[in-house]
Symmetry: C2
Subunit: 243 residues, 2 copies
């Protein structure tokens, strides 16, 4: 397989997509990213939040493709069953993970909210899994085997996919840097657009979130060219100082 193009599948987990209540925006985003990375997206499945359907799809897809991305079902409510169900598909359990609990605790301390039992559900991670950083809302995703489990909310999913990208099986090495804007997304969008237009080989993403006091934004710059990346990051930092 070393010389072959890596393959991928997406598994969208969500009753709300199947009912039409929510229109999926993640498939197109992940598809674009796969194309950028030279990974061949071969299949997408959307299933309900049902144990048997999720396990069957995870096993079928993870056996067939180099990587599998799941979106949805990792929130704090009782119908968010993705973590324990993916664990079950791999024959392990998903107890509360100390690393994930610490990240959540930090996030809630920083945003002045309390850790609750429901929120602690989001720290359940399959044994042996690696965490996927979430710049937007704290609660991490995770990777187990070749399956990468991400949130369903598009801005969070995009942040997780950015964090995950350097670990994906592509021959193209992507580097990334994250900058905290300390202000809302609309206050930096013109500057971002300007910098983006000057650095076409750098992909610049922005992730708005609420830090407990105000809406603020994390900016992520990614490139295969480290010098370009450094120059773009410089430009972003000066842009932030000037604005």
């Amino acid at each position: 397989m070393t010389n072959n193009v890596p393959t991928a599948a997406i598994l969208v987990i969500g009753d709300e997509i199947l009912s039409g209540r929510t229109k999926d925006r993640n498939i197109g985003f992940i598809a674009d990213r796969m194309t950028e990375l030279g990974i061949d997206l071969k299949e997408v499945r959307i299933v309900a939040d049902e144990r048997a359907a999720i396990i069957e799809a995870v096993q079928a897809l993870s056996g067939r493709y180099s990587v599998v991305f799941t979106t949805g079902g990792i929130g704090p409510t009782h119908d968010d069953i993705t973590a324990e169900t993916v664990a079950e598909a791999f024959g392990v359990t998903a107890p509360v993970d100390e690393r994930a609990a610490a990240i959540l605790q930090q996030h809630y301390d920083r945003t002045g909210r309390e850790m609750t039992e429901a929120r602690l559900r989001m720290a359940r991670i399959p044994v042996g899994a690696e965490l996927i950083e979430n710049h937007v809302s704290g609660a991490p995703g995770f990777s187990i085997g070749n399956v990468h489990v991400m949130a369903g909310v598009p801005s969070i999913m995009q942040s997780m996919l950015d964090a995950l990208t350097p670990r994906l099986p592509t021959s193209i090495v992507l580097q990334s840097e994250t900058i905290e804007a300390h202000r809302g997304e609309t206050d930096v969008s013109a500057m971002l657009e300007d910098v983006q237009s000057r650095f076409l080989q750098v992909q610049i993403g922005s992730y708005p979130y609420h830090d407990g006091e105000k809406y603020t934004t994390r900016i992520v710059a990614r490139s295969r060219d480290s010098e370009m990346l450094a120059s773009a990051v410089e430009a972003l930092k000066s842009g932030l100082k000037a604005s």
Copy 2:
């Protein structure tokens, strides 16, 4: 099964969706329609235009759910392999169908274009299949077993789904009427919105197409209430006369 809610799956066939080049708009539309009809959409798959992938998905989904909708891959080019591949999944062939060829011939006669070998490809229909009317561009879809094969272009898919709706396994009887507007969609959109706002139990759809001379529009009204439907159709006809 008589008392159970019917179930459905969607199979999107299209490299262009998997590459991210085209963003799917059909899944959300079909999902909404299923909800309106009381059909439980259980699964969606997106696969490439590849014989083995299509056959496997058609067989898996048609064995498991009451109805399956496919979109994409029924155009005139060599990579449009849905018709013969779905036929193969059902163990039949897909020769040129006389009914479909006549519909295409009529369409090209009316729009002043020539029937070509490529266009005749769109008349290949699995043996034993029922046609699905296409108000937009002539070339029909088809139903074989519980699998309904539709176009990938959203306006055409929507027209086919409307034509198909009365045949779907729901206890709710929908009636529909089609009106030819003889003018472009933007010339009737305000009138349609007005009539729609007065007849909330009638679903009014509009399907723009080029009739060979000009852009024109077919209007389709659907309702479970035949008196309401008749009144709405009257209102649409007066609206067209007045505008």
